[in-house]
Every structure is written in C-alpha cells, then in structure tokens.
Amino acid sequence: MVDTMMEEKATASTKVFSSELSQKVAGLLQSGDVQLAIGYEKGTKRPRPCFISETDDADKLIFDEHCTGNLAVYLTKKELIGDSKVAVTASYFALRSILRLLTENQVKLEKLVVLTVTSEGKLIQFETAEDIAAYIKSTPVPAREDDKVLLEKLNAMTREERWAFWSDELSKCFKCYACRAACPMCYCTKCIVEENRPQWIQPWASTLGNIEWHINRAMHMTGRCSDCGACGSACPLDLPVHLLSKKIVEEVSESFGMDANDTLQGGNALSTYKPEDKETFIK
C-alpha cells in the first residue's frame, strides 16, 4: 500500500508554509535530504514549472488540475540536476513517466523523492517503485473531455476525411519541436532529426515532411508514452499531436496487452514479442 508522510525533522524553518506540500518540500530542503525540488508555481496565465533550492521559496509551490505538462521531462537533464537528489511533485501521468524512465535506466529512485497530491488534496510520498505502480493502478485516469470529443469525431470519419484533417493540421506545423522538448521520453542527446547521414526527417517545414516527423516521433513513443498530452499542450499552434501517440497507447494495450499502467511488467513493447501476437492483416 501507499505510504503517507515521513516524520518531519524538528528543525524546520521558522516560516509557516501555506500548504502541506510546501511544508514537506521545505522540510526536505532544510534537512539536506534533497538539494532541488521541481514543482509548479503560479505563472502568467497558468501554472508553470519551478525549481526550488532555498527552503523559504517552497511557499511558491502549487499543485492542482491546471498544472499542465509533464515535470518528468526535467529529470533527465543532467545540466539541471547534476548529481543532486531531487524532489518532484508528479501528476498522475508524470508518475507513469517516472516509472518508465526507471525501467529505461534514465533515473535512479535513490536520487528521487517522488511526491504527489491527490485530487482530494492529500499529499503522498512514494517509497518504492511498486508503491507508485500501485497508486497508478488504483487511481482513475484523469479524463480529458476535449480529447474524447475529437477522437470520436476522427473515428467517425472516412479515411479520406481523416487524411484531409491530418494533412491540413500538420501542414501548419513549423518544426519548433516543442512537442519533443516537452516529452519526458524524448531524452536522446542526438535526435533522429539531427541525424543527417542519412537524413531521415527533413529539417524544413513542409506538409509531408511534418507528417513524417510526427509519425516517426509517435512510433518512437510506442510502449513508452504515458499519455500525458504534454506534447499537444506544448504545441504553440494547438496541433493535436498527442492524439497520435495516444492512438498507439491504445493499440499497444489492445494488441500486446501492455497497459500504460503496467510499466513495471513486460519490458518495452517493440523490443519484446510473443509468438502468439495476433496478426489479422498479414497474408
């Protein structure tokens, strides 16, 4: 079962913090247990990521349903984290990402303090990866109504209509790679778009080049995507690119029985196989 709060050290800062979360993070920083806390603070129009290393700054921390994006993206940035132990306030989807990063050996649990705040406002600190997995399994997936509506619309379209929709949407993409930058799973130091021998993906923006880029990124997310939608919400042109990797999340679950909630089992979808994998379209 999931652990609740650790014992507070007696020598906390004299400041009174406005939330349990701030209090907890302040305590972790004060005791030297962590050197950096990654969370959300108030931004211009909505919450934005913030990095706390001074105890008193912990009061800036907020955590609610308006906190978009996936903070796990910062956990693989060596220039930010170095060798420090880091506390991170993770949303439901960020928790999935953290587990995935663990299985891909990109983060170590001993260097992390993983916190979350439930929809009822309860603060949880996770002790083990299994605890995180259990929490993810037992908590209903946060729903996104807009996605549901758009997906229904797309699934009702004919193939030609879908092509018209996607080629129109993706023609707008100008290759800023905000989708890639916001994704915790895109941690490659040299991305395929930066490869020029051979040049798989055209660096310049053009309809087909953009489609190839998005197909490629979605495929590279197979079995790894947490369905957080950070890619879609990061896009400055509001392109629904998160639906592409979402489609693959569904397919991976349906075809391989590998659920996004079952990260600790099964390994990577494309580097494992079952002899009995179903095939309906192969002659």
């Binding site: 092509w163 310049w204 923006a205 495929m219 991976v252 196989y273």
Partner: protein
C-alpha cells in the same frame, strides 16, 4: 489513353521471400512486372520510414514480406517486425494514409507460386485504387507556398 500501371516497391527478406521470388522465376511462373524488389537480410531490418519514403518517391503500392513466424533465419527478427507493422499500420490508418496499398505477407523460400499470386493481386488492387497522388501532393511544398506563405 494509356492505362495506369502502378509502381510497387517490395521490401523482402533475403532468406525466405527473396529466395521464394527466385523460385517463381525458375519455375517459369509469369507474373506482373510492376514490382521493384529491395532485399534485406531480415524483415526485422525494415525501418518503417522506408515505407514512407517509397510512397513519397513515387510508389503507388508496397509489399512487405518475410519468413513465416518461427522460421526466421535470425530466430526472432520477423516477430519484432510483426509488432512494428501492427503499430505502424494502425497509426497510418489513423492518419488517413491508405493502408490497403500496403500488403504484408509471409512468403517462404518454397512458396514461388504464392509470391506470384501476392504480386498479381497487389498490382490488380493498386491499379483499381489508382496512383497515390494524394500522398505525393502533400510533398509539393513549392506549389503550396506559391499559393500561400503562411501555414499556421
């Protein structure tokens, strides 16, 4: 008016399908000549991006073929390929790309007749579907830019 002859690119594995296609020839089985065969050591080596490149460079249809499951020369290459194809095909279909133009098959080195049948049926199907100009139109960024420079 000349009838449209589809251009088909076939990505095949060396040990099974390529050998099978050889057998088709030595057996003197006649089949459509629209196919250009690209030989790989294994279907596991076929990058999904290559299929997209085939379409953008002028192919109207694609065949992807290899050893039957459990018969892969490298033991498990085709198992990995199968998983990849499953996801890729589902993604392409979601995007509205015509996956009926792509034929995935298992053709062993002994199935010369099957190879001919696959090629013939694919060519017939793609001939009916027509050239895949819809896809290639999306590649013409020069023409679309002459119409408008803003794409947001």
């Amino acid at each position: 008016m000349s009838e449209f002859e589809p251009k088909i690119v076939a990505f095949v594995c060396n040990w099974c399908t390529y050998a099978g296609a050889d057998l088709t020839g030595t057996s003197r089985i006649k089949y459509a000549s629209n196919v250009k065969i690209v030989r790989f050591p294994c279907t596991g080596r076929i990058d999904f991006m290559l299929l997209l490149k085939a379409f953008s460079e002028g192919a109207d249809g694609i065949i992807v073929s290899g050893c039957h499951p459990n018969d892969c020369h490298y033991t498990s290459g085709n198992f990995h390929a199968r998983r990849r194809w499953l996801i890729f095909r589902s993604l392409l279909n979601f995007l509205g790309i015509d996956v009926t133009r792509i034929q995935f098959t298992w053709v062993s080195a002994a199935e010369g007749a099957k190879w001919a049948e696959i090629v013939n049926s694919t060519v017939t199907k793609v001939r009916e579907l027509g050239p895949y100009t819809e896809y290639r139109k999306a590649a013409d960024y020069v023409a679309s830019q002459e119409k408008e420079v803003f794409n947001g």
